[in-house]
Symmetry: C2
Subunit: 336 residues, 2 copies
DNA sequence: ATGAAAGCGCTAACAA
DNA sequence: TTGTTAGCGCTTTCAT
């Protein structure tokens, strides 16, 4: 690597002052003769000048960083997309992403405090699951955006997936495909599940199709659908298929539930989609594409969320609504 | 948030000089009366002093950051674990993690250049797949560690998964379980596949069990096992199961291949593991645990890799070997 | 053992 | 239009 070039060097070379060089390079705000500016820019280019952002950061009190405080560093596989998208979009806007993990062992406060020490341009807080969070006043003040969650206080802008609409969309799609009797193996104990049930009911209401309440079932016992929660998929599917009439569609809380539903149906010798259709949420591609038959599912808008987040954080988008709901996309495959 | 406390403030309060305070707080290297040191530390504590790391960084030319330049920000779902582990371990050592994405659009050089501008304590480069990379001399000089890959030049320390050993282990485990005829739906075109074949053969050799070469098959057509590569699983499984004798075990290149194998076997009405056992690599838990029956698989040591990486980067571990191979763990479930 | 002063590289305020 | 001077908050000589 070449040795570092400083403002000093290019000032000396051109026989002007450091400040002039600084002014010439930092935006067009400072007035000066076009010619000087050009000369300076040319020289800077030639020498390969790169401003020392740490020095600049100290002077200005801000580093060109977006700090992401993330719950479990967004472990959910597909949620990686949020971070990647944030990173890509952020960089295009001149900001680097610094991530820090919070969780059970370390609270949000600690994560935010760590972030703050680098005097970032903006700080975002992201959760693994869509949910409401209760931020301390101090944290709420420090944070510029919440991703996949929203503050109970309602003062912090938020970007979240539109779960209600997603459920309504997939249900409508089922109706369009001629399906009428939809069972829903929903995710228990989480906000997404509640919201999707809303959408599920709304879509039924819109077509005046009655909801069969005892077909709204939790995919697992216990509060969450985690890796370790006890699955209820097999018994539920077995019972549903024994009913008369039986559902013509099983809507799943996520692609992993669908994976289990496939297993249960295989066991029963029931064909997808001819005997019963399956649809889901997430579009965890490695699962959804590889299932046999490939799974029709509503794709979580993680990429769009990351992009929107970066724009808001960079101050590009005027944070219109307090809570921005990003729509899912329907991915049609052949399970429905 | 309270107002910032500066060295100045605590110096004034105690009637000592700034330098004395600085000296007292920064390690025990500077000699001074124990009493002064104690008083200063107490005052710092009381006022809630937090050094301004940007100012310090400028002065020292180093920020307490580990910069991770990652190919695709390590999209592979389970590989998130590397980042998380790096973050957790790094923080325990006083370092924050800054991540930046590189890929087709933006080369390693650009990523490293971006990282360098923040004058981090250390820089690591990570890839999605275990493979050899060819780094420019400049990049190789700037990088302190490669994760999941190693430089062709051989000058950069590396942390990689031990694919050879993993394959040998799972094959031995099959033998221990009484299995003798193992087919291998390997990952084509990637280093992990080659290395695992080595291990596969070595384990056979160790027990003097012959390898059936035409049972070593690629899971997909084309160079890689990607989301979009055309799968060969179904035809291969069908052919294998029609052979005589047929394999008693199908070893899969990863859990997603196994997912497809399950689908193919279901179609053929073949039971797992009574008719044929299935085993795999990765331990992508959301798949492996949810398959029916749950999948026995070799867990990629991502967490251990992240931890080791952080230790090396923080300068804790004397980078013993140039290339550190981290062992997989056998996760026994019931498919074998 | 402690203090004074210089300076990291940059930009903001004030002069010229 | 450009140069000079002060810092940003910290650490590091060099004196004392």
């Amino acid at each position: 690597m070449k040795k570092k070039v400083h403002l000093r060097d290019i000032a000396d070379k051109l026989g002007v002052s450091v400040k002039t060089v600084s002014g010439a390079l930092s935006g067009d705000s400072i007035r000066m003769s076009e010619e000087t500016r050009k000369r300076i820019k040319a020289a800077a280019e030639e020498l390969g000048y790169q401003p020392n952002i740490v020095a600049r950061g100290m002077r200005q009190g801000v580093l060109p960083i977006i700090s992401l405080v993330a719950e479990g560093l967004i472990t959910l596989p597909f949620a990686t997309e949020i971070v990647r998208s944030l990173d890509n979009t952020g960089r295009a806007l001149g900001l680097s992403v610094m991530a820090t993990n919070v969780g059970s062992a370390r609270g949000i406060d600690a994560g935010v405090a760590e972030a703050l020490r680098f005097t970032p341009k903006a700080i975002a807080f992201a959760t693994m699951f869509h949910r409401e969070v209760t931020l301390s006043a101090e944290v709420a003040r420090s944070i510029d955006l919440t991703i996949n969650c929203f503050d109970a206080g309602g003062q912090v802008p938020a970007v979240v997936p539109d779960d209600v609409q997603a459920a309504a969309d997939i249900v409508s799609h089922c109706f369009d495909k001629g399906r009428r009797r939809i069972a829903f193996l929903n995710l228990p104990g989480i906000l997404a599940g509640q919201l999707r049930e809303e959408g599920f009911r709304a879509a039924h209401a819109a077509r005046c199709i009655p909801v069969q309440d005892n077909w709204l079932l939790p995919a697992t016992r216990g509060a969450h659908y985690t890796e370790f929660a006890m699955s209820l998929v097999q018994p539920h599917v077995t019972a549903l298929m024994a009913a008369s009439p039986r559902p013509d569609t099983i809507l799943c809380g996520n692609d992993r539930v669908a994976l289990e539903v496939y297993g249960a149906l295989h066991r029963l010798g029931i064909a997808i989609p001819s005997d019963v259709a399956v649809a889901s949420f997430d579009n965890q591609a490695e699962i959804a594409r590889r299932l046999d038959p490939p799974l029709t599912t509503m794709a979580l808008p993680h990429r769009a969320m990351g992009r929107r987040a970066a724009e808001i954080l960079a101050g590009i988008t005027p944070a219109e609504a307090q809570i921005q709901r990003i729509p899912f996309r329907l991915i049609e495959r052949s399970s429905l």
